[in-house]
């Protein structure tokens, strides 16, 4: 029922969001297609998607539907493939034409411009995250009529200057970049700016190598070198990388500090500086998109200069290259910064204090327990006496008599069989055996054996013949009585007894003493079963529940358990696994429960051990 409600609710919500939502807005739905240059799953792109969704959802003017396309241009640069891709997109959006197309990184813009051939013809474009040179080429392109954009990573000059101030003795500059068009489009303006900032220094250009070569080279750089690394989407061999990972590889291999340009590469081994902040750019892209949707002409919107920077440094890299904190600009942020003693060992200090508190509590608790134990041991002695009394009562009870007479009844035929057989052996040994004699002896043995079997067979009826005093009894009361009696004994053997009794059980018509006998037998069997178990398994659980007019009582133990083939035979007389057991306990239980028209059975405890259960019919309950 609960699930049905939830499903109905979900269905309603779905319907509402699908149809009713546009009505709630201004009535105008705008479509924005975002063309991502990279594959789906790239961390930066995902951040962008989440941020755009958040911004667009806050907009109350339009209902903006966002469509994402992941062009995967680094891994699939083949022009024929790109042509097919653009063809696919043209068909896909032939009817559902977008109001604005956003391109992310220059590759997507290239794709749109060069291979588009009518893809999103005339539709306004926001070209996000462009390197300076690409932005300038857009400025003079016919596409500018319907496009604007944002400039990204235009901070190379400042980054280089700040790097030099951190490493005043620098004589050489190494430069790392990948081979893909995307790598190159960022590399060109950045390298130009670096050259400008490091006028007169030796430049070691490591761009356009394989990753292997790059790593070897940065590992063996001459002294007083610093490394600038823009991006490596692809190396000379055509192997593609996720640029942050490439940063990590280069930094790890490098024997000189490595500098990067964008904040999203922090933490991958670059020292830091005044870095381009992706979040600000996304804000800018969203802003431009909304302005266009609101009716502004893209041509009238200047391509946005870079605005969002953050001065951030990696503390670990500063330490690695022994760059003093004093050489950093004021107000810089740090990642991986060492914490002071409390901050660094916060967890240990808190744990230590907690430990001391716990210890104190424990000591107080132990002192209290000591007192309790004394009173408990006095109570234990008392209940032990009660238990002994019960055993005495039990011995004199009908069960005791039954077993005594039973032993006698079985001993007679057994003794006779033995004597007969041994007599036959003696006759044979002395040569006095004759067919007549052997027939007679064997007949005796057969008779005696049958007699023994009869004794066992008659056992159940012996219990039944007893005069049961039937009265309304509460099974829970009986369980509690027996627990009270056995508690001392169980505690003395470190056996826990837990109860899960269903309250307000109806009564059953039964002989109280006999049912007590059953429960006592089951509990003592369970206690024997768990006696050798590990301390945490030395546990018995008693449970009662009402089920379809029957009261079911269950005894769980966590002892060695019971095999599938044993579940029936355990109730047979003289079946025992104990060295000193008569094997009568469960047979008597079965007789008693059967005489009460109930059911008793054993099963494996899935959690280990055995489960013994019996069911008795509720008084006045008809089925």
């Amino acid at each position: 029922m609960k699930y049905l409600l939830i499903i109905t609710f979900l269905a309603l919500t779905f319907t509402l969001s699908g149809t009713a939502a546009p009505v709630l807005g201004s009535g105008e739905t705008k479509r924005v297609v975002v063309l991502y240059s990279l594959e789906k799953g790239n961390v930066g792109q995902d951040r962008m998607d989440a941020q755009l969704k958040a911004i667009f959802s806050r907009n109350k003017t339009f209902e903006i539907k966002l469509y994402n396309e992941y062009l995967d241009l680094i891994r699939f640069p083949d022009p024929a493939q790109i042509s097919r891709l653009t063809d696919f997109l043209r068909r896909k959006y032939a009817k559902e034409k977008p109001d604005v197309v956003v391109t992310v990184l220059p590759s997507a813009l290239d794709c749109l411009e060069q291979h588009g051939r009518g893809l999103f013809q005339g539709i306004p474009v926001v070209a996000g995250l462009l390197p300076r040179d690409r932005a300038e080429s857009l400025e003079v392109s016919p596409l500018r009529e319907s496009a604007t954009g944002t400039i990204y990573a235009d901070n190379a000059y400042e980054v280089a200057q700040s790097a030099l101030s951190l490493r005043p003795g620098t004589k050489r500059i190494a430069f790392v970049a990948g081979t893909s068009p995307l790598d190159i489009s960022f590399k060109v303006p950045i390298l130009r700016e670096i050259k400008r900032a490091t006028e007169g220094m030796e430049l070691i250009d490591l761009s356009g190598l394989t990753m292997k070569e790059t790593l070897e080279r940065v590992h063996t750089l001459p002294p007083d070198t610093i490394v600038f690394h823009t991006s490596m989407f692809r190396d000379k061999q055509g192997v593609t990388f996720n640029p942050p990972d490439a940063h990590r590889m280069v930094s790890d291999a490098s024997n000189a500090p490595v500098f990067g340009f964008v904040e999203s590469h922090m933490g991958k081994g670059i020292v830091g500086g005044r870095l381009s902040l992706l979040e600000s750019h996304i804000d800018k892209i969203a802003e431009l998109t909304l302005r266009i949707l609101a009716g502004e002409s893209p041509a009238a919107i200047p391509i946005a200069e870079e605005s969002g920077y953050r001065a951030v440094y990696d503390w670990r890299e500063l330490k690695r290259w022994r760059i003093p904190e004093s050489s950093l600009p004021k107000g810089s942020l740090f990642i991986n910064k060492d914490l002071n003693v409390f901050e660094r060992y916060k967890r240990y200090i808190i744990a230590g204090v907690l430990f001391l508190i716990l210890q104190t509590v424990l000591i107080v608790f132990l002192i209290q327990m000591n007192g309790k134990q004394k009173t408990a041991s006095a109570r234990l002695t008392e209940s032990e006496e009660r238990y002994r009394e019960l055993l005495r009562v039990d011995r004199s009870s009908r069960l005791g008599e039954l077993t005594a007479s039973l032993a006698h009844e079985l001993n007679q035929p057994l003794a006779a069989i033995l004597s007969n057989a041994q007599a036959a052996l003696r006759f044979l040994a002395s040569g006095n055996m004759n067919p007549e004699l052997s027939r007679e002896i064997l007949q005796n043995i057969v008779q005696d054996d049958k007699r023994a079997a009869d004794v066992i067979r008659s056992l159940r009826s012996m219990v039944k013949k007893g005069e049961a005093k039937k009265e309304p009894v509460n099974i829970n009361d009986i369980l509690r009585e027996v627990i009270a009696i056995t508690y001392g004994e169980l505690t003395a053997h470190n056996i826990m007894i837990e109860t899960l009794l269903e309250e307000t059980l109806p009564s059953v018509i039964a002989d109280r003493t006999q049912i007590q006998q059953v429960v006592l037998n089951l509990i003592m069997n369970a206690a024997d079963a768990v006696a050798q178990s590990a301390p945490d398994k030395r546990k018995i659980i008693l449970q009662t529940e009402l089920r379809d007019g029957f009261i079911r009582a269950t005894v769980h133990d966590y002892g060695p358990g019971i095999q599938a083939e044993q579940v029936d035979s355990v109730f047979n007389p003289f079946y025992t696994t104990k060295h000193n057991g008569l094997g009568m306990g469960l047979a008597v239980c079965k007789s008693i429960i059967t005489a009460h028209e109930g059911r008793i059975w054993a099963e494996k405890n899935p959690g280990g051990g055995a489960i013994f259960s019996f069911e008795l019919k509720v008084a006045n309950h008809e089925r």
């Binding site: 007679q412 006779a416 033995l418």
Partner: protein
């Protein structure tokens, strides 16, 4: 057959036990007689022979212990071997105190039973010999004349010939003659033997 005249009596109300013990004892060469109850045994069996009685302590009617007490009063010198279903400790203590030679718990091994039976028969033989001697003595005692009997009583009470002569007011020589005849009639060679037998026959002056 082993010794002629040796009989093992098995008393048990359980036919299986009777039959099986009978076979077992016969396989060892004994003559066996079986009885359903103590009463049947007492009414039919000859008690004055060498042998032993094997009986179950738990029987209807006269119990094993009752029979044991009864036999003691009838000069029966056959030892009793008790059998029990399972350890009736108080009963077995009582039985052993009253002279049972063994107490076997069913089911028992043949060697256990037969070694008990053998030692019981040995005991029976010794007791019968002793009893026969006393009976013989009592029979001979009856052949004494009144005067000889008088002298005999004084002799076993430890008086010297001279004292006896004084007591009976006869000559010392006459006492000597009587004494010689008494020894001859009773078949004893020494005064010490005479006193021992008189004591066993419960004759006092």
């Amino acid at each position: 057959m082993r010794d002629k005249g040796v009989v093992i009596f098995v008393i048990d109300n359980d036919a299986s036990v009777r039959k099986s013990l009978s076979f077992l004892l016969r396989s060892a060469g004994y003559e066996v007689k079986t009885f359903v109850s103590a009463e049947e045994f007492l009414s039919q069996a000859a008690l004055d022979i060498i042998g032993c009685i094997i009986l179950d302590v738990r029987m209807g009617g006269m119990t094993g212990l009752d029979l044991q007490v009864h036999l003691a009063t009838r000069d029966c010198h056959m030892p009793i071997i008790f059998m029990t279903g399972h350890g009736d400790i108080p009963m077995s203590v009582q039985a052993i105190k009253k002279g049972a030679v063994d107490f076997l718990t069913k089911p028992f091994d043949d060697t256990q039973l037969l070694s008990s039976v053998e030692s019981a028969i040995g005991q029976s033989r010794r007791e019968k010999a002793a009893l026969d001697e006393i009976r013989d003595f009592r029979r001979r005692l009856k052949t004494l004349t009144p005067r000889e009997h008088e002298v005999f009583l004084h002799v076993i009470s430890g008086l010297m010939n001279k004292q006896i002569a004084g007591e009976l007011n006869i000559k010392e020589h006459t006492v000597k003659v009587h004494r010689g005849r008494i020894m001859e009639k009773l078949g004893v060679g020494s005064l010490a033997n005479l006193v021992r037998l008189a004591e066993k026959a419960k004759i006092s002056s």
